[in-house]
């Protein structure tokens, strides 16, 4: 009977993932259900959110890469976030969305090197074929998406408000969002913006970037 309940729960969760995903290209907004994915970690094993979901209270999804100076400046802070919040149920799940043919420094092998050189402590997944970032609507590295237990998007944007100087940070946007979720509240600040490196795609794949010109007369 217990097994049956488990199965039903599993089906329900899978159904939730299938039914609530947004159309690719549009990207996620606050309140949307985040789509599941199955991507390769630097250890060669594949991980999915649905597989991790039973053990967590949410996710700190970070679209990031090896090469972008903004991403590099946030590496230590991503490690600190994982160290602080993984045990509390909010692991960092990093995803490299760049096409290595455009940016060789963001190849899977280069990811492995970065991972060991920087002694990273979180999952560092490769968006092979660039299928995942367009569904999330990520446009740059780093680009953060905070999900709660039900996979609902609660925060999109920057890690904090000072890329150059971690000590001068006044607003810890991601931490604030997680603390709010842990306290059973909605984050006060749900969307922020920061400068970042565009996600690297081949010219033929530029449609994957959610980039329509905004024109006004």
């Amino acid at each position: 009977m217990k097994k049956l309940f488990g199965l039903i729960a599993l089906f329900a969760v899978s159904a939730a993932f299938v039914l609530n995903t947004s159309a690719p290209g549009e990207g996620l907004d606050i309140g949307d259900k985040a789509p599941d994915f199955k991507l390769k970690h630097i250890d060669g094993k594949y991980y999915s959110l649905s597989q991790l979901q039973p053990q967590v209270k949410g996710f700190i999804i970070a679209f990031t890469c090896n090469t972008c100076p903004y991403a590099v400046k946030y590496e230590e802070r991503l490690k600190s976030l994982h160290a602080k919040y993984a045990d509390k149920g909010f692991p960092v799940v990093a995803i490299n969305p760049n096409d290595p043919e455009v940016k060789p420094g963001d190849s899977f092998n280069a990811m492995k090197e970065t991972y060991s050189n920087k002694e990273m402590n979180f999952l560092y997944l490769f968006d092979e074929g660039q299928k995942v970032f367009p569904q999330y609507g990520a446009t740059k590295t780093p680009h953060m998406f905070i999900l709660d237990k039900s996979m609902t998007v609660q925060y999109i944007g920057a890690i904090d408000d000072n890329v150059e100087n971690a000590k001068a940070v006044k607003n810890t946007y991601v931490e604030d969002a997680i603390e709010a979720i842990m306290a059973g509240n909605k984050p006060t600040v749900t969307k922020t913006k920061a400068v970042g490196c565009s996600i690297k795609v081949k010219p033929v794949n530029r449609h994957l970037l959610k980039k329509k010109a905004s024109v006004s007369n």
């Binding site: 408000d161 913006k193 920061a194 400068v195 970042g196």
Partner: protein, 172 residues
């Protein structure tokens, strides 16, 4: 350098840009031959109302695709001057690299288009003011004149792509 500085001062005068430092202390860059400012000081650049079409490109020396497309903006600035097109290159280089990396780059490249530096730590305070559709990735380009305004969060893969956009702003 004096010549460069006079060009910059002239540009500063024509655009109404000022080294306003309400948000950031940028006095340490006062000796550089280009404007280094926070958003408040740069704001007039986005609100010119005259017969010029402004092409404002956001870039940085650390941004690969930005460097790749710089020649297209340089060519545009050169070839479209007489049609009243003005290119302004807004550098978003890190504060710690303005004096070193950026200045070295500019010295080497001798860009003809005007270069200004925007530094304001919390980009969340100003990105929406440039254009609400901008997520913050660079390269990104604002094109505007009195009749029309458009923002392109993308890179230009060739000169023609950029020109075709500018053409749509100008009555030929």
């Amino acid at each position: 350098m004096t010549f460069l500085k006079s060009i910059c001062l002239f540009a500063l005068f024509t655009l109404g840009l000022a080294n306003v430092q309400a948000q950031e202390n940028l006095a340490e860059f006062a000796d550089l031959p280009l404007v280094v400012t926070d958003y408040a000081g740069l704001e007039p650049l986005f609100q010119q109302r005259n017969d010029t079409t402004y092409v404002v490109n956001f870039w940085a020396t650390w941004c690969g695709p930005c460097i790749k497309e710089l020649p297209y903006f340089e060519r545009l600035n050169r070839e479209w001057k007489d049609k009243k097109v003005k290119v302004v290159l807004v550098s978003l280089d890190f504060k710690s690299q303005i004096r070193t990396r950026l200045m070295k780059f500019l010295e080497k490249k001798q860009l003809e288009s005007e270069v200004v530096v925007l530094h304001q730590s919390n980009a969340n305070d100003w990105i929406d003011k440039v254009d609400p559709s901008w997520s913050g990735s660079i390269p990104a380009t604002l094109v505007y004149n009195r009749q029309k305004r458009a923002f392109y969060e993308q890179e230009f893969y060739n000169y023609e792509e950029l020109v075709s956009i500018v053409k749509s702003f100008i009555k030929m």
